[in-house]
């Protein structure tokens, strides 16, 4: 009997979950932002790096920014090339998704790369015309990690030399002024 209940539950969950996954188109943020109305109200899947801050709101949701540009996979700090401005959008998800997630991407941190599925809400009338993705599922594709800084001795030496020369000149100017 217990096996039957488990199997029935599994079938039911699969039936409920499948349409969500099946109906969700995978789109890039760039395409979504250039054709926002064509995806309005639809289930879509987007993958990218979570960056900036996790905003834990009092209503039990978390707001974050998801960037699907090249910098998550090839960070500048690790010698990655420049690929233009960031491309991202705001996502809103249940705070349960953010309980054990890595910190968001910043200067010294590559944020977790996630795949999120949710409803694209373009100019949401209930939120004063904001546009965002209302997330129903979130899967971590790649863990976040700290990024190491590269050392640049030449810049340090140049900085020290320039500062020493500047200090000397300023000292000379002050001493000449006081002697006058």
């Amino acid at each position: 009997m217990r096996t039957f209940v488990f199997a029935a539950t599994l079938v039911l969950v699969t039936l409920v979950a499948l349409p969500v996954q099946a109906a969700a188109d995978t789109v890039s943020v760039g395409k979504l932002l250039s054709e926002p109305t064509s995806f309005d109200g639809k289930q879509i899947t987007i993958s990218g790096e979570l960056i900036g801050d996790y905003g834990f709101r009092s209503d039990g949701t978390v707001w974050a920014q998801l960037n699907d540009d090249a910098y998550a996979l090839s960070p500048l700090r690790e010698g990655g090339a420049l690929h233009g401005s960031n491309v991202g959008l705001g996502i809103r998800a249940d705070e349960g998704f953010f309980v054990a997630i890595d910190p968001p991407g910043r200067y010294n941190q590559i944020g977790p790369v996630v795949s999120v599925t949710g409803t694209w809400k373009y100019h949401d009338p209930d939120r004063g015309g904001e546009s965002y993705l209302e997330v129903v599922s979130l899967e971590v594709v790649k863990q976040g990690r700290p990024v190491r800084e590269s050392t640049r001795p030449l810049v340090v030496v140049t900085g020290v030399l320039l500062t020493l020369m500047a200090s000397g000149l300023l000292f000379l100017s002050v001493s000449r002024r006081s002697s006058e």
């Binding site: 932002l33 801050d53 500048l76 401005s85 050392t151 640049r152 500047a166």
Partner: protein
């Protein structure tokens, strides 16, 4: 006959400019200390180079010791124009070294945009930029807005300092002494700073749910960009990052405070009404007009599905444009699709700008009001009998007369702005950008706004980057100082 400047003229200009560079070196210590505290070692080294360069140039200037310390008008104007070139030139060094810019020109573009409180940016991967580098970009807004010259005037006394004050396009002297006025400006900035940062950080902590330190970081950076009507943002999605009406409301208050002249701040501190001022009436009228036009445009195009959405988004974008801030809650891709009336409403709001002697750019409300007044006077002259007496009086912190000299100045500066807008749009067109977008971006650069419809990108032609740099520089200084610098350079070459 054009007189070649003497060695003493050059020494005096170098010496006066050196003081500002020393102040810039001291300001540069802020991001340096921040970088060390945040353990951002590579940016710390970049800032050390910058501080050293500012200090070196400042030190070289200070040992010049001119015989005459009195700045005349031309000296003052040349110093201001020069400083507004040299400070961003050196200030671009850490930006260029950061690796977030495609070229040195791009870094200089950002530094010029920062100091002129424009807000257009060519930064790449801003979302991974060091927090100290972000602080420096926003501090450039503060230096330009509040600013280097004001700091110098507060600290150093000397004959002819009023020329420096006027050279920055400020003509609103609150107190008889320029030094007292400069100190009052600092007082206003500090009081607004404490209140603004506290309010933003509180909203970020309590409403947005950010961590305490990050709330403070967002509070500091957004305050500097809002109160100085700059428009840089710590995240790539500008104000759209926050998804919060309360946060936008605090920012709106700060943008309005930033676009007000310090004379109006003084009047409000003394609990005097400013509603009777020609400038206040004009800015309220033009803001209401451009907002209405934008809303009609958005409503007829069916862009928003609710009145709340239409009201919130149009109000924020038009306010940001009119105050010359350049924050946006919609993407540049979306802004570019605001065709017709909505597009026109935002563009006109940018072109008109904020109040005179504020950090806002554009033609400025006082000039718009005076120009309208002058036109209405001309119409009355035509319509009324020949002997009719037409009043040329207006109210601006007291009764004033609209003299012929004032009319000419107003018309000349307004025409120069229009010419600058058209010139930038023309060069944009020549590089293959559609007219509507070229005009929008040109107005945004020249009026020091910073809203973009996607033209300002790292891949745009170098000629256009240079054009926008010159537009930002000329628009911020309101032309006269730049003409003085060009004339000075010409007299160095061709003078006798």
């Amino acid at each position: 006959m054009l007189l070649r400047p003497t060695k003493d003229d050059l020494k005096l200009i170098g010496y006066s400019a050196a003081r500002m560079l020393v102040i810039s070196a001291i300001a540069g210590l802020i991001p340096l200390i921040w970088a060390l505290a945040a353990r951002e070692w590579a940016p710390a080294a970049d800032f050390l180079v910058m501080v050293g360069l500012y200090g070196l140039l400042g030190g070289l200037g200070l040992i010049l010791r001119p015989r005459n310390h009195r700045l005349d008008w031309s000296h003052g104007m040349v110093v201001v124009a020069l400083i507004w070139l040299v400070v961003p030139l050196v200030g671009a060094v850490p930006l260029a070294l950061s690796g977030h810019f495609g070229s040195w020109l791009d870094a200089f573009f950002d530094a010029m945009s920062g100091i002129t409180t424009t807000g257009l940016s060519l930064a790449q991967d801003l979302d991974h930029m060091a927090s100290s580098m972000i602080i420096w970009r926003h501090l450039l807004h503060f230096l330009g807005g509040q600013g280097i010259i004001i700091a110098a005037l507060s600290l150093f006394s000397g004959a002819g300092t009023a020329t420096l004050y006027r050279g920055e396009g400020r003509d609103d002297q609150v107190f008889p002494s320029v030094r007292s006025t400069a100190r009052f400006i600092w007082l206003v900035s500090i009081v607004n700073g404490i209140a603004g940062i506290a309010a933003l950080a509180l909203v970020a902590r309590l409403d947005l749910g950010f961590g305490t330190l990050r709330s403070l970081f967002h509070g500091v950076t957004i305050f500097m960009a809002a109160f100085d009507t700059g428009g840089f943002s710590p995240q790539s999605t500008s104000l759209g990052y926050y998804h919060s009406a309360p946060f936008e409301m605090v920012v709106a208050v700060l943008m309005i405070a930033g676009a007000m002249s310090f004379g109006v701040h003084y009047a409000l501190w003394r609990r005097r009404s400013v509603l009777g001022n020609l400038e206040t009436k004009t800015i309220l009228l033009t803001f209401a007009g451009t907002l209405l036009v934008t809303q009609i445009g958005l409503a007829t195009a069916g862009v928003y599905r609710s009145i709340a959405g239409l009201g919130r988004q149009s109000f924020f974008q038009v306010l940001s444009a009119h105050t010359g801030t350049g924050f946006s809650t919609v993407t540049s891709v979306e802004l570019a699709t605001w065709g017709g009336l909505a597009f026109g409403g935002v563009a006109i709001a940018m072109a008109l700008g904020g109040m005179a002697s504020s950090t806002a750019g554009g033609v400025k409300s006082l000039r718009v009001g005076l120009a309208l007044r002058s036109i209405s006077e001309q119409i009355k002259r035509v319509l009324l009998p020949e002997g009719a007496i037409i009043s040329s009086r207006f109210w601006q912190n007291g009764p004033r007369t609209l003299s012929d000299e004032l009319k000419q100045t107003v018309m000349a500066i307004s025409l120069l702005y229009v010419a600058l807008y058209v010139l930038g749009a023309g060069i944009g067109l020549a590089t293959g950008i559609p007219l509507q977008q070229a005009l929008f971006e040109s107005v945004s650069a020249a009026a020091n706004v910073g809203l973009s419809v996607g033209v300002t990108t790292p891949s745009m032609p170098a000629a256009l980057k240079l054009t926008y740099i010159v537009q930002m520089w000329a628009g911020r200084l309101e032309f006269i100082s730049i003409f003085a610098l060009v004339g000075f350079a010409w007299s160095l070459v061709r003078g006798k």
